[in-house]
Amino acid sequence: MSTISLQDTHHHDNHDDHGHHHETFISKYIFSMDHKMIAKQFLITGIIMAVIAMGLSILFRLQLAWPDKSFPLLESFLGKWAEGGRIKPDFYLALVTIHGTIMVFFVLTAGLSGTFSNLLIPLQLGARDMASPFLNMLSYWFFFSACVIMMGSFFIQTGPASAGWTIYPPLSAIPKAIDGSAMGMTMWLISMVMFVASSLMGGINYVTTVLNMRTKGMDLWKMPLTIWAFFLTAILGILSFPVLVAGVVLLIFDRSFGTSFYLSDIVMGTQVLPNEGGSPILWQHLFWFLGHPEVYIVIMPALGISSEIISINSRKPIFGYHAMIYSLIGITTLSFIVWGHHMFVTGMNPLLGGVFMITTLIIAVPSAVKTFNYLATLWRGNIRFTPAMLFAIGLVSFFISGGLTGIFLGNAALDINLHDTYFVVAHFHLVMGSAAIFGMLAGVYHWFPKMFGKMMSAKLGYLHFWLTFICAYLVFFPLHFLGLDGVPRRYYAFTEFEFMNKWLTVNVFVTWAAIIAALAQVAFLFNFFYSIFRGKKAPQNPWEANTLEWTTPVEHLHGNWPGEIPTVYRWPYDYSKPGAETDFIPQTVPFSQTMSSNLPHDFEGNTEAEEIQKGWEVKNKPAATEAE
């Protein structure tokens, strides 16, 4: 069988790559080609970047809550960017820009997909490693370099990029426009090109591995929903990130070589710039052709992770396995034809706007299918409230409350009013930000035993969950009302406008909630790093789950399984199957060992197996057969 030879080939590759099995510190922890180690590298880098980006958000929240107050402490570590203890307008813009960039790309794309695709694709599919371990290593180091360059922009005279995470030209295209468009923007662009290279290497590897290296018996319709989500996410990345590169290259040429792709009729002070004929709207098209799929790149892995966790901890099969997959496929396809809804106010032809509006509203259908399926899975389950389960349920909550406002914003007529207000900020921080980060945290709590062989403290996990969950709502929910009242986002001091003054108290409240949420993360960070070294040793299968990763030894080894790779006989969601001895049946258990719980559709039309099953039932369950 081709599948067998594929994974065993892989085994062979491992021998090639790692030769004689004596590893140095460098080959094990730094330039590692083992997918499990690379996953940990992505996770820890992602956590560090998340903490940095969260710190940046606290800084600009201070400015929003107390625009007239001085914080001398800020000056002592930000220097001239906070002269007199007050954050400068230019630096405020840099803060929101870098906060957005890091959170969207570095944490929720690389930190999320990089960690869990790398960890789970080989482990849940039964492969020795990725298709190309070398490319995988390269992917991490490109990501790491991108992080270093992005953070490096804080240490230059003119400061980091500050044109917003969407870096719209002409502001971003003219180095002299603001400080942030000078060197900082160049570094942003270089960092982003490296980031895209990293994402592409990762994504190509994930798709290849899923399509070519599944173990025997693991057909596409027996894959866990996590893998489906990572797979479709990787496809989205491969199809959309190259367009961002195309756009970024043109922007680099505009900035550094004097072309006019995005520039026309610009007057700086008294000086007329020579550029003519370009169109900044074209940047928006190229950017959002990536940018919109990007938000699904962020949310889909989180959705996949919570499908798995909710099913395991409800001790029930996932409701609508096929519907879950088809809705993921639907989201993937539709996400390419909705980008125009970010551009309703660019003077777009209303007819075209209508088309984008319809496609946008249609995407609510598969999203709703997923939501209802989560709820139906929870319904009357034997729910185990592990920290991972709480975070997964938290994701569902944010996905609903943030998704509803998406229907508002998808309507062109409403969006024209709400565009670039805090309503948008509230919407995407709930549906994309909070939901995705909760999915990521759920994944960390759930697969920590697999990653480090240790258990995290559940009590600290509960503390972390409740504080974060409540504070996230306290931070983002009030922002809807600011937006409805017309308070624009990205303003440094909106109190300068009479009618917005009344929102100051709300902003003070939001900032306090944000500070408490930030402090709550200490519980997580302590729990995470302490448990790596001092956590309780993890059992083989701590959550009593069905998927393949829990059949590997707790102590990691190259090639994942000491002997042969296990064969898969059934789908991953046989929880609480009537007639079974335990409430979970791992994928590696053949139907011949579970005669008492087999159902006719388990045999997928294999008449011979059906006959055997019937014969067994006549012998062992005469009453049941009669009743039929």
């Binding site: 490319l135 190509i204 756009g247 043109l250």
Partner: protein, 192 residues
């Protein structure tokens, strides 16, 4: 079972790795798709394209690149007939034609520049000619690295599966950049 595994360990299966190259081809196509989409939208909104008669050199370079693809095809066929000497010869020829192509592209840019159509231009459609042909040339450079990789494999007398794998990925990539250039050239000819 142990026996079959060791047996299979000896097999070199190139399928997943070739798939990686195919996916790279897909993402690269999309990047160029991004640029040509820019061009179409730009030209439609301004009512003008680059408006140039493209230099003849680009026609010659197209022919050269097509020829190089033929040479690479012959190299693959030689390897299939297990004639490594012949494979090496055709690989060298492919590479030489690739270098000639690069030289001709520079000639093309020079003649564009001399006719007044420089990269720094207030008609972004003209700048775009340089962008797409320049990034295509970067692909040619990568393709030459692939050819060198296949050549090294051939000279080292690698086992047939590995040598075929190296030859195959070179072929996937080189034929792709050949077709890509034809697409770009025809695109630029049609949208002037």
């Amino acid at each position: 079972m142990v026996q079959t595994i060791t047996q299979q360990d000896l097999n070199f299966n190139a399928k997943p790795k070739k798939f990686v190259v195919w996916l790279f081809v897909v993402s690269s196509t999309i990047m160029f798709g991004g640029w040509t989409s820019y061009y179409i939208v730009f030209a439609a909104s301004k009512g003008k394209g680059h408006g140039l008669v493209l230099p003849d050199v680009f026609t010659y370079s197209t022919v050269v690149l097509l020829l190089s693809s033929v040479m690479l095809y012959l190299a693959s066929r030689s390897l299939r007939n297990n004639n490594r000497k012949q494979q090496q010869l055709f690989l060298w020829l492919t590479m030489a034609l690739g270098l000639v192509f690069g030289y001709l592209q520079f000639q093309g840019w020079t003649s564009l520049y001399n006719s007044g159509a420089a990269l720094i231009n207030n008609n972004a459609a003209i700048s775009m000619i340089y962008i797409v042909s320049g990034f295509h040339l970067i692909h040619i450079f990568v393709g030459i690295c692939f050819i060198l990789n296949a050549l090294v494999g051939s000279y080292k007398q690698l086992p047939i599966e590995k040598a075929t794998y190296r030859q195959d990925i070179t072929a996937i990539f080189w034929h792709f950049i050949d077709i890509l250039w034809i697409y770009l050239y025809v695109f630029l000819l049609l949208n002037n």
